[in-house]
Amino acid sequence: MTASFRGMTVLVIRNEQLNLLTESARERWLAQHVKRCFPDFAEKLQPSELLDFIRRNRRRAIPYFQSEAGVSLYIDLVCLLGEGFSDDPRLPWARDILTNSSIDETQRRVMLYSRARAHLLGPIPQGRIRRSA
């Protein structure tokens, strides 16, 4: 959209358009994040598929996280545990943490990360001390 200001034609960017630009920047950052942190996973997807993956799971994450860091963790766990991990009956802790309204978002992110990490490492073998990564 253009408008005139003192005889000059100027480009006007409406809030809706600005929001779309911001949304696009967020998606691009998340796509780069997945490529950086989960290269094997990202390699299997075409660029358009990766973007669809980001959009789909970003929508799923938004009810639980307002911050991009929280959304980013949610997508990380999708890469590691699979889509729908938050509703997976085999991972009841995920839903419990995500829907726990007595904690704030920062705590939710830390708890989800810690619990997911413990899940990924699995049970500690008897008589062994696990080294941390």
């Binding site: 003192r6 920047a25 994040h33 942190c37 959304v71 963790l73 890469c79 490492l121 990564a133």
Partner: protein, 101 residues
């Protein structure tokens, strides 16, 4: 890199979690560089308004003053911080072209 696949997954999560801390808050990473500013002033008929006084206050509060060049323009090279600038033409009402007839 640990050989244990469980350790690999946990390490990947650690890396991703730390990377997530750098996620831009508004979706656009802040750029530390400076920027430039350029304005051209013309009247309602599209005629350039050369020599007009201007005052620009940048987002850091620094004041830049001067007169528009023969093209009715002024240019501040990449030296000012990103953000909103205010522009004033304090004497535009004194311009003979702008006086009411």
């Amino acid at each position: 890199m640990p050989d244990d696949p469980n350790q690999n997954s946990a390490s990947a999560l650690d890396t991703a979690y730390n990377d997530g801390d750098n996620a831009p808050q508004d979706g656009v990473a802040p750029c530390p560089a400076n920027t430039w500013f350029r304005v051209r002033l013309v009247d309602e008929d599209g005629q350039i308004m050369a020599g007009e006084d201007f005052i620009v206050v940048d987002s850091a509060g620094a004041r830049h003053e001067g007169k528009l060049d023969q093209n009715g323009e002024f240019y501040i090279p990449p030296s000012i911080p990103f953000g909103k600038c205010t522009v004033q033409f304090p004497n535009v009402h004194l311009n003979p072209k702008k006086r009411k007839k």
